[in-house]
C-alpha cells in the first residue's frame, strides 16, 4: 500500500499542474494578506492588531482551498482524460486499492498546500503586524489552532476533490461541479436554509478553521467539522468504488 501511495504522490509531483495550483493558492493568500495589512485600520477596515484581526489575517493561509480541491479531482480525472488509468489498473488490478492510495496521497498533497499557505502567512503576517505596531504575543494558541485547521481543511478538500472526481470521472464536469458548489450553490443553499449551513462542506471547513461565522450562524466544533468532511469524502469514494471505478476501461 505504501508503494502505491508513493506512486500516486510521484504522479502529482511529476507534472507542472501541481505547481500551477500551488501558485494560484498562494497567490490568493498573498492578495488577502497584503490587502488586509495595507487597509488595516483605514476607513472602517478592521485593524490587524487586535486578536480577531490577527486571526482573520492568518486565516488567509486557507483561502486557496478550491485549488487543493482541483488538484484532488485532477489526480483521478486526469487518469481518465489521458487514459493513463489503463496503466494504473494494469499495475494494480484491485481498483479499490488505487482509490485508497489516492485518498492517502491527496491528504499528503493537501497538507503540503496548507503548510505552504501558513508559511506565506507568517512570512507576510509577522512583518505586517510589527509594522502596524501590533505585538507578536497576539500570535497565540488561537492562531496555532487556526493554522492546524487550515492544514486539515486543505487535506480534506483535496480528498473531497478526489472523491468527487472518482464519482464523475469527467475532468471538466468534476471541476465545474466542485467550483460551482463552492462559489454558488453552497452559498445559495445557506442563504435559503441557514440551518443546514453547518452540515455542508463549506460550513464544515469553517468549523475546522475555528473562525466565527461572518453571518453569525453557528458551526460544529472543529473535530465535528473534520469528521463531517471525512464523512463526505468517504461517502463519495465508496459510492465511486461501487459505481464508476468498477466500469469497464475500454
Amino acid at each position: 500500500m505504501i508503494r502505491l501511495v508513493k506512486a500516486e504522490l510521484q504522479k502529482v509531483f511529476t507534472t507542472r499542474m501541481v505547481w500551477g495550483m500551488l501558485a494560484l493558492s498562494l497567490g490568493f493568500t498573498a492578495i488577502g494578506l497584503v490587502a488586509l495589512s495595507l487597509l488595516s485600520g483605514m476607513q472602517g477596515a478592521p485593524p490587524i492588531t487586535d486578536p480577531d484581526g490577527v486571526k482573520n489575517l492568518f486565516s488567509q493561509a486557507g483561502v486557496g482551498l478550491v485549488f487543493a480541491f482541483v488538484i484532488g479531482t485532477l489526480l483521478i480525472t486526469g487518469e481518465y482524460r489521458f487514459q493513463t488509468i489503463t496503466h494504473t489498473f494494469l499495475v494494480t488490478p484491485r481498483r479499490q486499492r488505487v482509490v485508497a492510495a489516492k485518498l492517502v496521497a491527496c491528504a499528503g498533497v493537501g497538507l503540503f498546500f496548507g503548510a505552504a499557505g501558513i508559511a506565506l502567512a507568517f512570512a507576510v503576517g509577522v512583518p505586517a503586524l510589527l509594522i502596524k505596531g501590533g505585538s507578536l504575543s497576539l500570535i497565540d494558541g488561537d492562531v496555532v489552532r487556526l493554522c492546524a485547521g487550515v492544514v486539515a481543511a486543505m487535506a480534506l478538500y483535496t480528498i473531497l476533490g478526489l472523491a468527487l472526481g472518482s464519482l464523475l470521472r469527467n475532468q471538466v464536469a468534476a471541476i465545474v461541479v466542485g467550483i460551482g458548489w463552492v462559489y454558488v450553490l453552497e452559498n445559495l443553499l445557506v442563504a435559503l436554509l441557514p440551518s443546514v449551513g453547518k452540515w455542508l462542506p463549506g460550513g464544515a471547513a469553517q468549523a475546522v478553521y475555528g473562525v466565527s461565522s461572518p453571518l453569525g450562524g453557528d458551526y460544529l466544533p472543529a473535530w465535528g467539522g473534520a469528521a463531517l468532511l471525512v464523512g463526505y469524502a468517504l461517502l463519495f469514494a465508496v459510492v465511486a468504488s461501487a459505481t464508476t471505478i468498477r466500469r469497464d476501461i475500454t
Binding site: K6, F82, L90, T92, T250
Partner: protein
Amino acid sequence: MAAIEIRNLSKSFGAVRAVDDVSFTVEAGTVTGFLGPNGAGKTTTLRSLLGLVTPDSGEALINGRGYTDLAAPLSEVGAVLEATSFHPGRTARNHLRVLCTAAGLPAARADQTLGQVGLADVAGKRVAGFSLGMRQRLALATALLGEPKILILDEPANGLDPAGIQWLRGFLRFLADDQGCTVLVSSHVLAEVEQTVDDVVIIAKGRLIRQGTLAELTSNGDRGVRVSGPEVERLRPRLEAAGATVECPESGVLLVHGAQPETVGQAALDELVVLSELVRQRSDLEQVFLELTGDPAAPPGPDPVPALTETPGGTS
C-alpha cells in the same frame, strides 16, 4: 498449461455482442497473431484478459489465473493496448518510474526499458512532443518493465512507419526466440503479422473463426501448381498416374492439384516438354483472410475455394 486461455468468453456492450462464446489457447513460447477485421472483438477479448473489462460470462486466464488474482501482474504479463496514452506533461522516464514504484520494481528499470525500445535519448522529454510512433515505443517500454514472459499487444503497428513496423517485427521475434516470451499480437491486417507469427487465431463479429498454425492457414490457400507450355497436355497421364488431379483451364495451361512443383518438373523433364511457367498457385493471404472473416452473405468471389468455406477446423 497454456500461457493464455480464453474459455467461452462473452461480452456485450448494450445491444452489441462484442465477443460471443470465444475460446482459444496460446501455448507458451509462441507468437500468436490475433486477427480479425476492425470491430471483431479483439480489443474486448484482450481487455477482458487484462482485467480491464469484466466479461458477462466465461473466463480469460493467464498462466491458469485471472489477471486480478496475479500477485505481481507486471512481472507476469506486459500489455500494449490501444486507447492508452500518457500524461503530456510528464516525461517518458517519469511515466515509467511511477509504474515502477507502484509495481515495486527498481527505478532503474525505467531507463533500461527505454534503452531497449530505442527511446534513451528522449527519456527526459515530456511526452507532449512525442510522435505516435514514439508513444507506441513508450507503451512497449511499459510492457517490458517487469520483464514478463507473456506479452499482449493490441494493434501495436498502428502509427508506426514502415521502418518502425520492421523494427517491431524483429523485436517481437527476438522476445520470442531469445527471451522465450509468449506473444499474443492483434492486428486487422494479416500482412502486418504474417512474417512474425507462428500461430493464428481469427475472429470476426465476436465469434472464433479459426485457430491454427500459420502454415495450416496458408495451405488452405493452396490452389495447386500452375504449369504452362505449348505441349503441357502430354504431362497429364504421368501426373494423374502419380495421384494428382489435373485441370485444363485454358489451352496450354494445366492446374495440378495434389502434386508438388518438383513432381511436375520431374514429369516435364521425363516427357521432354518445354515449359514457359511452373509456379505454385497460392491465393493471396489477405484474400484468404478476407474470405474467412468476410460477410458470408456477400456474393462469392470469382474463384471460390471450397476448402475455405468450412467452419472452424478441428485444429489443436
